[in-house]
Symmetry: C2
Subunit: 559 residues, 2 copies
């Protein structure tokens, strides 16, 4: 059995390693156009930050062995050809043409089974000045090395990051650690437009600004100027001084080879594969960032390049190369990203997705400490759930905050994968002890909020809806926090706020009008909810709760 | 509607609060025999440790309001009678007799619906000397205050903790922070006998000893000696000097009131309730630490008092008091506990449980970093999965290590709750980014190990089985670590270890005998597994892998 694999980073080498485990006798050849193989590309921002000292650490095993050609040969009996470009696939002859990039020599590699793992390439917009020095993408170790070397020499003072996505914000944090001024320019109206709902993105942006990043959304870069090296970024709104530019506006699948071989390309522009990760040719598999995936909830084809998915693909392809019938179930578009000390995560559908796909859904957003508030290190996180109204099926979740977020996203991702409902999220016997969480975990609290909304007990509105009501000027906002909290956490900028701490509400009802539209809130709106229940118990007609409270308020507060 | 609730800590007050939300008009009275209500009992060890400065923090809301009688009256319109003991229930008359413990007065409270949330009481063995001063249980805030006050005055030098369970080890950590010498005495042969398998418990004990705790297992306390105050603990093996003793050998449900009212008591000795948390009387609910629960997997009745379960009970009872039909699904016996810097968690069945219940199961135990090894703060955790062999259904998991453990336990708990299989654990699109985890999360790696075992590709043995083979002296142990690692991590105490680093194995096969029984391992046994595959590919007949590697080896190593 002759196996050829094109691409030697994540999916390709994982497939090779697994194929070897399944079939000790196969001949396995991996072709990689670059010099380096099997590197942890997701670690590059942390190398730039200085968290990772040596870039070779991204290419070693946990035991310290460099995952180079000799390693793959000695340990796994896999031949890796580096600096070797696959230039064509002859499907009839079952041959791949490869070119040695150092000697220029071409030759043909015969295959019984072929794997395409050509990855993705960063999008490079055709903007004037993009060829200037110090305009970098952050995709290959060489980019990271160049940026880090410049930082070590104190070369950069003002960095502009184009694109407020994952790599963009990871790089923003990395550069900030080097005390560089960082401006992030995003064409869309919000941060993380690919995976966060607008009000959550607003909270993240507010936090990022508080941490000293300049976040410019709804702003389009027009050109880069400078004499040899970049000196400024010109947008449709201003000119920003910049001696370093990071382009992180996304990636596209690298499908040229597959396309020219006549393999089917899917609606997303990535290679189409079936559940077994077979392409339209039964002897050619494809996996990693060059293929499209199926969304587990919606069934849509989506392009979500992710290191974790690439590794799963590799494992499944490796098994199937050895005669297995392993299937890839699909993705939830789960992401998590660290933005300074804030954790930001999402799984499944956003509310925007749910709306676009026509779901009848309900959402709830709740804040709360990630462990009992009395424990040292307890931090607030905000969890938003999106649930199908009729069935209760969980559609998605987002969570942000300085507290533990990834665990909550993973609980929901697990529940969604198994077809769970919002009731299930309350039922789960999660691990409880004060260093880890509160007796009712944040996910369960969010589930209860959804259940209360479905039962008609909680009428919640988002911060954005609340802002609209403030602007319209017809609504009374009821702030039930204590005066100390208001001072510390800031006040809503709104002429019609009434301040009545929750403990006094029952005795001060006369100060409110039963026919007014009232929006109650507190720091996280748990007391806001209590307040609404008290008012409803007293026959107030139109009481709502501002979900997430002042803690998730994306706009400026008065102090 | 007249609702009376007996017990004002977790389940009772949660039920009261939820009942109020559902029914603004009900009359709700809570009866509590102690002075304090609604305190976070699970936080007591952290108060003793000094992590929590003021014990009142355990009784405040996150916003700082003390959850006292006035709070429940003003905010929730709930009457709480403290220092009031319920002495009898007249089910025919639907009345509870209560006694004011300060005045001694008795009176009767009529009820339409009654809730029993009388909690549990710590087991106090009838040992000589147990009445000596400084012999404490750690169940009530008063115990914690006494211990902390003694610590602050530098009163304690040698503490002995009886029982290596949750509270015992939390207290061991707390006392160690005060630089007290701590000895933990456990009657069973292992730490955490209620929820860890023996080899995992052995790893925890090894770690605890390395951190300076003295852990004595299989040792029975016979008496306490001293003149007024405790001076020593006498076991069946030795006399241990002690000026502080913490009794933490478990708790039993407080069922006297329920029993004398003729309510059904279950096989565990706790109050029997149905899914709605109704007792054998249709007007009396019970919840929290005084009731028994149903195990979601086995269907067995079990007694697992846990703050998280009590809060869930309270919420469900509150809903049902208002006419709801909420059901409690049951528990998985999930636990998590911090032992110094090690996190220890379990959900579902242990291997011991699975054996006792007659399941046909397979287990796998794997070690690995909790995030990419190149990230700062990456730590190794060990995950053990127990899976039903035929169906692949997940039965349970245990995880330990200085890295992130609770998340992995919660992923498995979620999957079990939804009937997930070991395949599902690989499929889940968990949140991936280097600050949080590796591209293939530890849970997925453990799932793959199980799948490899089910497919006959991995023949794993536990550290205990390996120890047996070392003692029998007929097996070759193959250590494929590098010499540097062996020096750093220590060597197996075994005369028949062969040292061949993995990268040299293919070229040094002649040093091994194809007919020998060989057990391969490394630090975490990932390379041990690679080594086994190489040997099997070369037609070695009898190769096994020591699961978890030297990292999870519970016995001493040679350095």
């Amino acid at each position: 059995m002759n196996i050829v694999i094109i691409g030697g980073v994540a999916a390709g080498l994982k497939a090779a390693a697994k194929a070897r485990r399944v079939d000790p006798a196969a001949r396995i050849t991996v072709v990689e156009k670059g010099k380096m193989i099997s590197y942890g590309a997701c670690g590059l921002p942390y190398y730039v930050a200085g968290d990772v000292q040596d870039i070779n650490q991204l290419m070693t095993t946990p035991a310290g062995a460099l995952r180079n050609q000799a390693f793959f040969k000695n340990v796994k009996d896999i031949d890796v050809l580096t600096e070797t470009l696959a230039t064509g696939i002859d499907r009839a002859a079952k041959e791949v043409t490869v070119k040695d990039l150092t000697s220029g020599e071409e030759r043909k590699l015969p295959y019984d089974k072929l794997v395409i793992a050509t990855g993705a390439v960063p999008v490079k917009p055709p903007l004037p000045g993009i060829e200037l020095a110090n305009v970098h993408q952050l995709w290959h170790p060489d980019d990271a090395k160049a940026v880090r070397a410049g930082l070590e020499r104190g070369k950069f003072t003002n960095a502009v990051i184009i694109g407020a996505g994952l790599v963009g914000l990871e790089m923003a944090e990395a550069l900030k650690l080097w005390e560089v001024n960082v401006t992030v320019v995003e064409m869309q109206n919000q941060m993380f437009p690919a995976f966060l709902d607008e009000e959550i993105a607003g909270s993240v942006a507010k936090y990022a600004r508080q941490q000293g990043l300049t976040i410019l959304t709804g702003e389009k870069v027009e050109k880069f100027t400078g004499d040899g090296a970049v000196e400024a970024v010109v947008t449709d709104k201003r000119t920003i001084p910049a001696d370093l530019v990071i382009l992180s506006i996304g990636v596209r699948p690298n499908v040229e080879l597959a396309k020219s071989a006549g393999l089917a390309i899917g609606p997303t522009g990535a290679i189409a594969v079936n559940e077994n990760l077979l392409t339209s040719d039964p002897d050619i598999y494809a996996g990693g960032d060059c293929v499209e995936n199926t969304h587990i909830i919606s069934g849509e084809k989506i392009f979500t390049p992710m290191g974790s998915t690439a590794n799963k693909h590799g494992r499944i392809i490796g098994d199937n190369l050895g005669g297995g019938d392993e299937k890839f179930r699909g993705v939830l578009g789960t992401v998590v990203v660290k933005v300074m000390d804030m954790n930001v995560g999402k799984t499944g559908l956003t509310e925007r997705d749910a709306k676009r796909l026509g779901y009848d859904y309900v959402t709830a957003m709740v804040g709360g400490h990630d462990r009992p508030h009395y424990m040292p290190g307890a931090k607030i996180i905000t969890v938003k759930l999106i649930v199908e109204a009729k069935s209760g099926r969980i559609l998605g979740a987002q969570a942000i905050g300085e507290g533990e977020v990834a665990k909550r996203i993973d609980i929901v991702a697990t529940a969604i994968t198994l077809g769970g409902t919002v009731n299930d999220l309350f039922d789960i016997d999660v691990a409880y002890a004060p260093p880890y969480n509160s007796p009712i975990d944040n996910v369960a609290v969010a589930a209860l909020a959804v259940l209360n909304k479905l039962a008609g007990r909680l009428k919640g509105i988002s911060s954005l809806t609340a802002k609209g009501k403030i602007d319209a000027g017809k609504t009374v906002f009821l702030d039930v926090r204590t005066p100390d909290e208001c001072k510390q956490q800031g006040r809503l900028v709104c002429p019609s706020v009434k301040y009545i701490p929750l403990g006094q509400l029952r005795s001060r009802l006369a100060e409110l009008n039963k026919d007014d539209e009232i929006v109650a809130f507190c720091k996280i709106s748990l007391r806001g909810y209590e307040a609404a229940l008290i008012l409803e118990g007293e026959e107030f007609k139109n009481v709502q709760v501002m979900e997430g409270g002042i803690n998730a308020w994306p706009f400026e507060c008065e102090k």
